[in-house]
Symmetry: C2
Subunit: 390 residues, 2 copies
């Protein structure tokens, strides 16, 4: 597949797009009433737009894919849902139908490698349990596809390095789906701290947590998740501490906790809470909390002349930036809101089109895993741990 060149990605689509055609046709319902399958209209639209749009194979169709990523694809400007990879044929078929994907483009985990022969697929978006990211990234790269993978990148730094190496060798882009790096309120927070609007950054407070439900989900099984709340949601607080400070932590300390007899935390390596501290070279300290049993949803930069924060910080909708520079009341500028997933996928498509490094490349995911490994080591050893390998 030849890369999409930048000149071929107009900021305003000039040809009919899949979305526009589907909209005009009233989507799948009207398509069905016309006696043609929705995917054929979609494919026709994609064809009409030519190689302007990046065709994604969505690998894994759990709730994130079904509720966020597949719907978000319809809101992108430079991408479309080209294929589904799933171990559940019926579910895959239903989702393909819903999102206008040619049923021929449904793959399973066995025949996944044959996507190499499908030119409609230029990229894979790996939305599998954490411990499967490396395998499906490496196989995707070997199949000649660019790779966008969910966070955390994998469950060990070694597996992150394998992923980076595989994509490098294949000459394909690799990006970690850190959606908040494409979210305007979080970006405004970064910008405000960088410009020292509230003076010098001194302390970061970052909390990320939610009440986890179904005790049988993969997140609560160490062999699939690689850990507990730190891996799944605490990684947002860690990543935020790094993007707010624009530094790499040198030391960490941590506490974890699991409530005895709680079925959700039966796996001894899946923590319910993980609170951790980071020390940055400048002296900035970050105080971070993560949990699977309470909601935590704020990133705050405490500065010498005020503060800046996002709260909620990581919700899919309604993220809100505010700051106080001690010139009048705290300010809550409207910096806009986007579909995080659509925006990150469009960024990825632009990087592919223009042969640019994504804002959150594999190396970014690797750095978080290096810190996560140090955090778990600190929690287990009861010692402050120096972060190595950055």
């Amino acid at each position: 597949m030849k890369p999409i060149s930048s000149s071929r990605v107009p900021s305003t689509p000039i040809f009919p797009t899949r979305r526009n055609v589907l909209r005009a046709a009233g989507g799948g319902i009207l398509a069905a009433s016309l006696g043609v399958p929705a995917w054929s209209l979609a494919q026709q639209a994609a064809g009409a737009a030519g190689d302007r749009k990046l065709g994604f194979a969505i690998v894994g169709i759990g709730s994130l894919s079904m509720n966020q990523i597949l719907p978000a694809l319809a809101k992108t400007r430079h991408c479309y849902a080209a294929a589904i990879v799933s171990g559940h044929p019926d579910k895959a078929k239903a989702q393909a139908e819903k999102h206008g994907i040619d049923p021929k483009n449904i793959y399973n985990y066995e025949n996944y490698d044959s996507i190499k022969d499908n030119p409609a697929i230029q990229a894979v978006y790996v939305v599998l349990p954490n411990a499967m990211h490396a395998e499906y990234t490496v196989r995707g790269a070997k199949a000649g596809k660019h790779v966008l993978t969910e966070k955390p990148m994998e469950v060990t730094s070694a597996k992150c390095r394998e992923m980076i190496e595989a994509c490098r060798t294949a000459g394909k882009k690799l990006m970690v789906a850190y959606r908040l790096r494409y979210e305007p309120n979080n970006m405004a927070l970064i910008d405000t701290v960088q410009k020292k609007v509230c003076g010098d950054l001194k302390i970061i407070e970052a909390g990320a947590g939610f009440m986890i439900g179904d005790p049988n989900q993969w997140r609560l099984e160490h062999s699939l998740s690689g850990g507990g709340c730190l891996m799944d949601i605490g990684v947002y607080a860690l990543n935020a501490s790094r993007y707010i400070s624009r530094e790499e932590p040198v030391e960490v300390s941590a506490f974890t906790h699991r409530t005895n007899g709680e079925p959700r935390f039966a796996d001894p390596y899946v923590e319910e809470h993980c609170n951790f501290q980071l020390r940055f070279p400048s002296g900035v300290l970050a105080s971070c909390a993560s949990s699977y049993s309470t909601s935590l949803n704020r990133f705050r930069a405490d500065c010498t002349k005020g503060w800046a924060e996002v709260e909620p910080a990581l919700s899919y909708k309604g993220v809100k930036f505010r700051y106080d520079d001690r010139k009048g009341d705290p300010k809550t500028p409207d910096v806009g809101s986007v579909d995080h997933f659509a925006t990150e996928m469009d960024h990825f498509a632009e990087c592919v089109a223009n042969d640019k490094e994504p804002r959150t490349p594999g190396e970014e995911g690797l750095k978080d895993l290096l810190v996560i490994e140090s955090i778990y080591e600190a929690a287990e050893s009861g010692k402050t741990v120096k972060v190595h390998g950055m």
Copy 2:
């Protein structure tokens, strides 16, 4: 001095009080215009109210005494400013005049012990640098006076124990001036968590910090302060974590930081930041930040079904409680506001009158010092430290 009996502390004063008399007389200015010193009116009022009011000697007249405590005494119902102990005769004289204190009741650090012969003084309020609290508490108790001391109680747990022992031996009350324990918004937070209005407590986030000014102040000299931001302001975050959880921490980890070349942090034992984590027996974890170079002012209880917080948490005015039980919007009930110092002094007077244990006795201050010692040990050793001696 005989203790003030409970029956003699009516909730509504029925006799003229010093404050009422001074108000009626237009305070010191009108008193002066009448050709009588303000203190004589005040003393007359105190006399009229008899032994109903607790006469305080304020020991140390720095900015806290001058700007908060002495003005607060005029707002109490059960106390009055009886004496001043100071090393600065001119300053003492001016403050005595301002607050209607008989100039005969001005003491210095040498003749402090002679307060034992002054029946107008029933209690001392020690508002000296931290490392002087034990000496002036012990001498106060030996002089037969009840003791209210500022936080932190002292600079070591050993000195706290000496203070407790001295007051026990003398049969006098000892209370630590944890003003937030007498502040209705903080009390509402405690109550809300205790009643599980937002479900079970899981995580505590507590920040306490401010931008410290004058590099020559005692707070920045280890021999007087016993430490940096943790001792002075971080103790609020620690105390809050304990009163929110109603548990004693069993383990701590900590990071400290001093900016090189910053004159305010020239003393190697006075930290600019101290972030610390606490583990409670129930599994609740507290994530705490303290600083002398940024404002931190929030205590938050993150629970299974919502959250409750105070923000600002520790300002002298405007402390605000709110909570979210996920039944409609977050709630901001008006639980009232008080002068923290007046309320704590009245509580102390009531404990003296009724021979009751104060809400924040010496043992409460000792517990914080035990944890503080563990926090410094953790920061220095780079190890999680178990809290001993509780």
